[in-house]
Amino acid sequence: MTARRATLGGHTYEFPSLVEVMAKATPHRSGDVLAGCAAGSEAERVAAQTVLADLPLTTFLDEQVVSYEDDDVTRLVLDNRDTTAAGNVMSLTVGGFREWLLARAAAADEAAISGLARGLTPEMVAAVSKLMRNADLIAVGRRARVVTGLRSTIGLPGRLASRLQPNHPTDDAVGVTASLLDGLLHGSGDAVIGINPATDSPAQTIALLELIDAVITRYEIPTQSCVLAHVTTTLRALEKGAPVDLVFQSVAGTQGGNEGFGVTLDLLSEAHAAALELKRGTVGTNVTYFETGQGSALSAGAHLGVGGAPVDQQTLECRAYGVARHYDPLLVNTVVGFIGPEYLYDAKQVIRAGLEDHFCGKLLGLPMGVDVCYTNHTDVDPDDTDTLTVLLGAAGCSFVIAVPGSDDVMLHYQSLSFQDVLTARQVLDLRPAPEFEAWLGRMDLLGPDGRVRELTADAPAARALLAAAR
């Protein structure tokens, strides 16, 4: 391991390890300051970026950020890497790779960009993202095409799907149903109807899965359900014959972070295989769903890399994508503003992180969505989530999350509202997943312009759906 140097304004900055180059090249965020790995000045950050730009991409094959011997995420990524997928790109530097991506994006060459995924490692993708401006992340992100499916198709051009999240503080069936129907009436739910249960137990998970399944079956909705319980809980429910469309798990970018979530890679493989067995898909066979978020490894105290140095949270987030992609997910989303101001302090940091996470996930081959959200002690408000939503729509984000009136009454944070999804689709000319859009048409929920209509409670289409509330 040799120290790397860059001279800027007459001052020479030295970076003893690859871990430090990566951390100090990262745009400013509170979580890296908390971890003690952030650049000490703006000039040092640019110096680190200058060093990073000149590193060959192959550096990340020869030198690890988190050691191969000690960490099963590193082993999973390197042992399964397709050595031919990235082709000639592997002869580039990180800075050259940025330019290559921008050139292909400008030529709308989706095949070239999307074909790289299995040849890239999370660290390569994190590295190039650190050199990029927000506009670069958007321009390239929208050309990284990842299409997945189960009963609806996610990620097609010109589409923006949404997860309908009808959470309730006590998992009350009537309360959940009210939020669920409200979402359907607003054209939400094409990515998944997904509930965070208040109680993580097999019995509760089964009850909620059966509730959603009954609505999906009654109205023949081309979408899938998910109860975001721990993967072991979902496996128990599955063994008892529950209608499990997707197995869900939060994942992190280190072995220790995943242990903090109570999961191992073997456990995820077992769950993936069990869900595949059920063969519940109609248009595809993607049966897993993962959530991630910058800061999760640090909050578990599992953020150290080679030499015991703290790894920056954005690199660790990309490594979580390295975990997720191994299980052919239908959906992956970062919960970008949820974890708190000690990781992402304000709107500038949250917006940047949302765009990074989308770009990095897509480049690594994930069907990437974003929970555009915030807590009340973060310096973010709905104007900021509007901004991020429009930017993500422009970047080709696969899906967002929506709750009634932006207010998640179970998790006590704010995400997008159903109205926000309608607005994003309207201003960016995006449509729901095709199967779901056709269903909205069959239910007479679309106007002549193809947009979701506003209904009075006694409109036949509203009465038909609301019958399930009685």
Partner: protein, 243 residues
Amino acid sequence: MSSDAFDLLRSATRARVALGRAGDGLPTARLLEFRAAHAAARDAVHSPLDVPALVASLADTGLEVLEVASAAPDRATYLQRPDLGRQLSGDATLPAGEYDLALVIADGLSPLAVSEHAAGTVAAVLERLPGWTIAPLVVATQARVALGDPIGAALGARIVVVLVGERPGLSSADSLGLYLTFGPRSGRADSERNCISNVRPPHGLGYAQAADTLVALLQASRQLGASGVVLKDEGVALPAGAG
């Protein structure tokens, strides 16, 4: 008639369902309702604790009231550096003694909750603890729960209870939490604490109810010489409403 089915949705959940639309956006009244709730939560986080007013409201306890600050110099640092909110500032001095219990009133993420509910809760707790030796009350600013550990240790208290403003929700900006730790010292894990959440009459727990639960936990903790998961596992009989 036309609103019946939507009323049914609204009556089924506290979630903000059937808000209506203005084009693809929200009706103005619904927009302003949301803003009002968010504003209350933001103000609860950022309005500093009125320490003199709080100290005055604690006069009836007859106990001395001490003031300390954490190592986080301001609100912005406090929010970004939870580690600093768990340490005492360099110039903090606390008189060592020998006490059964120390009560620490910490602004936390909602100084509003502390202003509204701390004095009432302290009074209700103290009247239920005859015979316990109680350390001087401590008011701590820019404080996290774990700041109670060095405070309790410095005072020489066997148990510390931190009354702290909880992270404001959209419809609950003034929620107070009570955290009990036996044998306070820096480095205690969260699993070594017991928590009573959502003290917020009239919507959440009342003072008497919260104090009943806390005193049951205190007695059990003193008996066992421990707190946290152990205490829960011992199946301490708690009054109804224990959170």
